[in-house]
């Protein structure tokens, strides 16, 4: 089994990254703050005003460390990519399948189905653990949403065009986010959830979710690249310049499980409060530096938790799941598997 490699997040304004031997060194005002041997890392994420030497960037590309730049609100800015590697035959097969309407839809269906089932699991878990303390209205709403997601999942299983799959996915998202607010416990006004908003997120809960999605996208795309797939050519997501469509496809399975659940548990455990957010003039809500660090720490810790992979039946850290799924996807495209088994969380 692949080793789970760590990700280094640099969020300090004005930090300077350089290469020293086989180490990544983080400097702040000329003083060394951290030193990490590169073989421990699978990714490097720079948030905000962080610069890196060209020697370091080249070295990261060579050692298979994905470098991603985000702005302080978590919006993706850029990534640094080395020479294209991996298996050209595999990529050709990927392009062929995305062009073939039927085969493309068959794969897109797997992603959508897993996403809906995982959304349902998030709701089911909340019902299982907290139903007795819930108000009657939220209980009813959650139970109704659970039934509707079961129904959409059933419809997503039928053979159909990618277009209508997108419709079903949208419907499920609507149902899910309509009741997402009920999953937030307590009566704090800070985290009232009134529906999904993005670009920019308009409330703290949305800001959290959006930031987590960006982190997860980074992990998904490096997982795909590791197994020689082209993250830009997707099945469910259409090609668009600069968009990592396949990474977004893979992301769908993991959104509810990793991102949404982490956001919920941070909120419900009162790990964040009003002071952790800043509201801009245009209504956008941003995380302040400390909150971002808290979030990154929680995210990294969650990724270290071991779970059993639903298809392979092996135990592995959560953070490796995108890698295992990317590997299964590569195997499907090679023809070793008849159908891609998406990540369905129990």
């Amino acid at each position: 089994m692949r080793r789970y490699l760590n990700t280094l997040y640099v969020t300090t304004e004005g930090a300077w990254l350089r290469k020293d031997g086989a180490n990544i060194v983080v400097e702040l005002d000329g003083a060394e703050r951290m030193r990490v041997p590169v073989h421990m890392l699978g990714g490097l994420v720079c948030v905000g005003r962080v610069s890196a030497s060209s020697a370091l960037l080249g070295f990261c590309a060579e050692s298979g460390v994905t470098v991603t730049y985000l702005n302080t609100s978590g919006r993706f800015l850029a990534r640094v990519e080395g020479p294209v590697s991996g298996n050209v035959l595999l990529r050709r097969e990927q392009y062929r399948r995305t062009d073939e309407a039927l085969e493309c839809a068959a794969l897109a269906r797997c992603f959508v189905l897993a996403k809906i089932l995982n959304q349902r699991t998030v709701i089911r878990r909340a019902l299982r653990d907290h139903a007795p303390d819930m108000a009657a209205t939220s209980l009813d709403a959650l139970e109704a949403a659970e039934r509707r997601l079961t129904d959409t999942a059933r419809r997503a299983q039928l053979p159909q065009s990618t277009e209508s799959l997108r419709g079903i996915e949208g419907e499920a998202a609507q149902v899910y986010f309509a009741v997402f607010g009920y999953l937030i416990r307590g009566d704090s006004d800070t985290f009232r959830f009134e529906g999904r908003s993005r670009r920019p997120p308009l409330d703290p809960a949305n800001a959290l979710i959006s930031f987590l999605y960006t982190l997860l996208t980074h992990d998904c795309r490096s997982a795909l690249e590791t197994f020689g797939l082209d993250p830009a050519v997707g099945f469910l997501h259409r090609d668009r310049p600069g968009r990592p469509s396949l990474a977004l496809d893979l992301l769908e399975e993991f959104r509810p499980v990793l991102a949404d659940r982490i956001a919920l548990s941070m909120i419900n455990r009162r790990q964040l409060d009003t002071r952790d957010f800043r509201i801009m003039e245009n209504g956008a809500v941003l995380l302040v530096d400390d909150a971002r660090k808290k979030l990154l720490t929680t995210y990294q810790e969650r990724k270290k938790e071991e779970i059993s992979h639903p298809f392979l039946g092996e135990k592995a850290p959560f953070g490796l799941m995108p890698h295992l799924q990317a590997q299964l996807l590569a195997r499907t495209l090679r023809g070793d598997l008849d159908l891609y088994p998406p990540f369905v969380w129990k």
Binding site: N23, L296, T297, K304
Partner: protein, 96 residues
């Protein structure tokens, strides 16, 4: 697996000081300095073979000594630290 590498390099001449620098550099590339000439290296078997070969190439066996301690996959558990020199947990969340 976690490896503990410690060394003594004779530094009475300039060739010795050069060996010391180069041994330290090899260890630093693969792990973390926990004391002046003690390194903890989290490496997989292949990386360990490379590091070991590199170290053996650098030293002069007549004057220097190298010690390798195999702490295994859960080596972290076998370590207790007291006192100054905080070390970084390279497998924990890395956020600066």
């Amino acid at each position: 697996m976690l490896m503990l590498v410690s060394y003594d390099v004779r530094t009475t001449d300039s060739a010795g000081r050069r060996r010391l620098r180069r041994v330290a550099r090899a260890c630093l590339d693969h792990g973390q300095r926990v004391q002046f000439s003690v390194f903890e290296c989290e490496v997989d078997p292949a990386q360990w073979v490379a590091l070991r070969a590199r170290l053996l190439k650098e030293i002069d066996p007549d004057h220097d000594s190298l010690r390798f301690y195999h702490l295994g996959a859960d080596g972290k558990r076998r370590i207790e630290h007291v006192g100054a020199k905080a070390v970084l947990n390279l497998e924990g969340p890395l956020v600066v």
